[in-house]
Amino acid sequence: MKLACNVVEQVEAICDKHGNKPGELINILHEAQSMHGYLPEEMQRIIARKLGIPASKVYGVVTFYSFFTMTPKGKHPISVCLGTACYVRGSEKLLDEIKRVLNIEVGQTTPDGKFSLDCLRCVGACGLAPVVTIGEQVYGRLEPKDVKKILDEIPD
C-alpha cells in the first residue's frame, strides 16, 4: 500500500520541523505515529532518507520500543492491563476471552479495522483490577463473561 501524497508531505514536514537531525529520530517517530496511527515501512524509509541515516537504524528503534507500531491500530484500541494487581485478579483470562471473541492475537487489528488488541503494564487504577481500556474509556472489575457484551455495545 502506498502512502498518500499528503501523508508523505506531512511526514517530511515533521522531519523538517526537527531540522532533519538524526538525534531527533524518536521525537519524529512519536509525531509521525500520532499523525498517522502507525509507522508503515514506506514512512520509515522516508524518515531515514530525510535524516540521512540507514532505514535499518529507524527500523531498529521502531522495533525496540513497544510504543511504536507498524500495524494500523483499530478505531477502538483495546489495552488489557497485565500489571501485578490485574494479573493476580485474572486479567489473563480476560485477554484470552477478548482474543477469542475478536479472533485476533495481541498486536493485531480486526479485519474491519474496528478493534486492535494490546497489553500494557498498569494504568494506575489497581483498585479496579482487572482493568481493560477501550479507547479512552476504562473498564474495571471485569469478568470474562462481560467481554462480549461490552464489545457488542461499542458503535462502529
Partner: protein
C-alpha cells in the same frame, strides 16, 4: 614525559601510552591479550567496532567498585589495572557461559569450527560444562543466498556486521531489531537479504566472530563435478588468492604461493588449470580501449559522453550502483569482470580450440570474494541458461578442499598454469589491491595514447590504503585526472559528488572491500589484524616486480587471442562476449 603521554600499571608492568588509549590497546602494547569478542579495529582501514557489548574484556581497576570493559575505558594517569585477578577470571568465565546459554552447541558441524572466536575463548577459559543451559533460544532466521549463508541462532550480538554494513560500506542493510531475548541482527524490515539492497560484499562475513554469517559453500558440488568423467572442469584463480591461500596452511602472511596453487588445483583433478590473471589482462585491453574511446570523444567536445568512466570489475560495487545510483549507470565501463571475461572466452574460443562442447565444460572461479558467487548467477552471464562461470568458491573453500583431498600443500612443487589462458603480466597481478586496476589500466592507456614507452612503470600516486586517493597523470600534455577509492562508503562520497555535478575526474576506480580484493570476504579470516593485509600487499607488488611482462597489452597470449578470434578491442565480437549492461535495481 611528554604532555600527552600518561603512565599506568597493568599487571605490575608500568606502561606509557598516549592520552585516549584504551586499556585494551595499552595491554596489547606490552603483550597482554585481553580477550574480546565484539571489538575489532582494523587499523589502516575504517573497519572498526567498539560497542562494548560482549563484556568479555572486563578488567579490575583499583579504586573502582565495578569491573570495567577494557575496550571502552581510557587509560588514566597512575591507574592500576589487573587483567587476570581471580575476580576478573571468574567474571569472564561467567560471561562466556551466559553467551553460551543462548548459543547452539553444534560446534562439530559448524562451518566456523576451529576458526571461531567464541570457540577459542571457551577453550581459553577452560569451560567444560554449560551451567546455564536451556536459556530461551528464540527462533531466528536462516537464509541461504547465492553468496552468503545466514544462521542467526549462532549470533552473539557483537554488532560487528552492523558496523561494517552501515559505517564501512554505508549500505545500511543490517541492524539490531527488537529487544531482550527477541533481539536479532536482521536486514531492514526483517526482509531476506535477497529482497534488500545488500551488495553481497560479504564484509559482514569477514568480521563475524562466530558461524552466524558464513559463505555459501560450493565445495561438495565441485567434488561431484571433479569426479564426473563426463565433465571437463576448468579452474581460474583470482590474482588475490595466491597472496593469502598459504595462511590457511600455516605459512607466513604475505607468502606468494602461485606455483603451489597451480599444482594443488591439478592434484585436485581439474582438467585445465588456467588463470583469472589472463582475464585481468583482457579486462585492461577492453576497459583501456573504452577509456581511450570516451576520452577522445570528450576531448572532441562531445557533451553526451559519460566522464568519468568508472571501473566495473568489483561485483559488489556493481550491485551498489545498480541499487543506489540507477541514474548514473552510464558511467561505469561496460567491460565485464576478469572472471566473467575468462568464462566467456573459455566457453567459446577455448571450447572451440579444444573441441569440447559448451555443456560439458564446468568453469570454476576461485575468488577472494563472495559477491562473485552472486555474479555467476546473474542472467546476463548465461547463454541459454548455461552460465559462463558455473560457480565460484572462495580462498577458504579451496583450502578446505585441499585438506580434504590429503594434499600436503606446503610440500607441493611449483608449477605453471596451462596454456592458452594461463599466461599473465604484472599488471594482472596487481588487480588484487585497491589502486591496482587503475595502475594496470594506466600502464596500457599511457602507451597506447602517447605511442611512447612508459619512462617509469609504477604509478605510486594511486597506491596505498587511504580511503580516497587522487592523481594527475601527464599524457603528452593532457592532464588525466584519476581517482581511486575503496569501501562503499567512500564510493558513496564519490557518487554523491558525481550526482551533484561536482566531480572533476576522468577515470575512477572503486573496490568494495577494505584494501581491495586482498581484504576480500572470501580470504582467510584476518581476525582484525591489519598486518596480514599489509603482508599480502607487499607480496602482490613483489610478484608484479618479478614478472618479465608487466603491461597487459604485452601478454603474447592476449595478442594471439585478438589475432585469432576477437579482432581488436571493442570489436563487435569483443562487445558481444566481453561487455555487459546494467539495470535499475533500486528498492522502491
Amino acid at each position: 614525559m611528554e604532555q600527552n603521554m600518561i603512565q599506568l600499571t597493568i599487571d605490575n608492568h608500568v606502561v606509557e601510552v598516549p592520552k585516549g588509549t584504551t586499556i585494551l590497546e595499552a595491554g596489547k602494547q606490552i603483550g597482554i591479550e585481553i580477550p574480546t569478542l565484539c571489538h575489532i579495529d582494523l587499523k589502516g582501514t575504517c573497519v572498526k567496532n567498539k560497542p562494548a557489548s560482549c563484556r568479555l574484556c572486563v578488567v579490575e581497576v583499583e579504586g573502582r567498585r565495578n569491573l570495567a570493559p577494557a575496550c571502552a575505558t581510557d587509560c588514566m594517569p597512575d591507574m592500576v589495572v589487573h587483567t587476570n585477578s581471580a575476580r576478573v577470571i571468574r567474571a569472564r568465565k561467567t560471561i562466556a557461559e551466559l553467551i553460551l546459554s543462548d548459543h547452539p552447541n553444534d560446534c562439530l558441524t559448524c562451518p566456523k569450527c576451529s576458526d571461531c572466536e567464541l570457540q577459542r575463548l571457551v577453550m581459553r577459559f577452560n569451560i567444560r560444562k554449560m551451567p546455564f543451559n536451556g536459556g530461551e533460544q528464540s527462533e531466528r532466521k536462516r537464509e541461504l543466498t547465492p553468496a552468503i549463508t545466514r544462521n542467526m541462532e549462532k549470533c552473539i550480538y557483537c554488532r560487528r556486521c552492523e558496523s561494517v554494513c552501515n559505517n564501512v560500506q554505508s549500505v545500511g542493510v543490517l541492524g539490531a531489531v527488537r529487544r531482550g531475548f527477541d533481539t536479532t541482527i536482521a536486514p531492514t524490515f526483517d526482509k531476506m537479504f535477497v529482497d534488500t539492497n545488500c551488495t553481497y560484499c560479504g564484509q559482514c562475513v569477514a568480521v563475524c566472530p562466530v558461524g552466524a554469517l558464513t559463505e555459501r559453500d560450493y565445495t561438495d558440488q565441485l567434488m561431484d563435478d571433479l569426479t564426473n568423467p563426463d565433465k571437463v572442469v576448468i579452474a581460474q584463480p583470482a590474482p588475490a588468492v595466491r597472496f593469502a591461500l598459504g595462511e590457511e596452511f600455516g605459512m607466513e602472511p604475505g607468502t606468494s604461493v602461485t606455483g603451489k596453487l597451480a599444482s594443488s588445483l591439478r592434484s585436485l583433478g581439474f582438467d585445465y588449470v588456467f588463470d583469472t590473471d589472463f582475464g585481468a589482462d583482457l579486462t585492461i585491453m577492453e576497459e583501456g580501449a573504452e577509456i581511450l574511446h570516451r576520452l577522445k570523444k570528450f576531448l572532441a567536445g562531445d557533451k553526451d559522453v559519460k566522464i568519468p568512466i568508472m571501473t566495473s570489475c568489483c561485483p559488489a560495487w556493481v550491485n551498489f550502483y545498480e541499487h543506489e545510483y540507477p541514474d548514473l549507470l552510464g558511467h561505469p565501463s561496460s567491460a565485464k569482470s576478469p572472471a566473467q571475461m575468462f568464462g566467456a572466452i573459455t566457453k567459446t574460443y577455448c571450447a572451440e580450440k579444444m573441441g569440447i562442447p559448451r555443456e560439458k565444460i564446468v568453469v570454476v572461479s576461485i575468488m577472494p570474494c563472495l559477491a562473485k558467487k552472486y555474479e555467476c548467477a546473474r542472467p546476463e552471464f548465461k547463454v541459454d541458461g548455461n552460465p559462463d562461470v558455473d560457480y565460484s568458491i572462495s580462498t577458504r573453500e579451496l583450502a578446505r578442499l585441499i585438506k580434504r583431498a590429503n594434499i600436503r600443500f606446503t610440500q607441493l612443487p611449483d608449477s605453471d598454469f596451462d596454456s592458452p589462458l594461463g599466461e599473465s603480466t604484472g599488471a594482472a597481478a596487481i588487480f588484487g589491491i585497491t589502486g591496482g586496476v587503475m595502475e594496470a589500466a594506466l600502464r596500457t592507456v599511457y602507451e597506447v595514447y602517447t605511442g611512447q614507452t612508459l619512462p617509469h612503470i609504477e604509478f605510486e600516486q594511486v597506491r596505498g590504503f587511504e580511503g580516497i586517493r587522487e592523481a594527475t597523470i601527464d599524457l603528452n600534455g593532457f592532464p588525466l585526472k584519476v581517482c581511486v577509492a575503496h569501501t562503499l562508503s567512500n564510493a558513496r562520497k564519490i557518487m554523491d559528488k558525481l550526482r551533484a555535478g561536482e566531480l572533476d575526474y576522468h577515470v575512477v576506480e572503486i573496490m568494495a572491500c577494505p584494501g581491495g580484493c586482498i581484504g576480500g570476504a572470501g580470504q582467510p579470516y584476518h581476525h582484525g589484524n591489519f598486518e596480514i593485509l599489509n603482508a599480502r600487499r607487499n607480496a602482490l607488488y613483489a610478484e608484479d616486480e618479478g614478472k618479465k611482462l608487466r603491461k597487459s597489452h604485452e601478454n603474447p597470449d592476449i595478442q594471439k587471442l585478438y589475432k585469432e578470434f576477437l579482432g581488436e578491442p571493442m570489436s563487435e565480437k569483443a562487445h558481444h562476449l566481453l561487455h555487459t549492461h546494467y539495470s535499475d535495481k533500486s528498492i522502491k
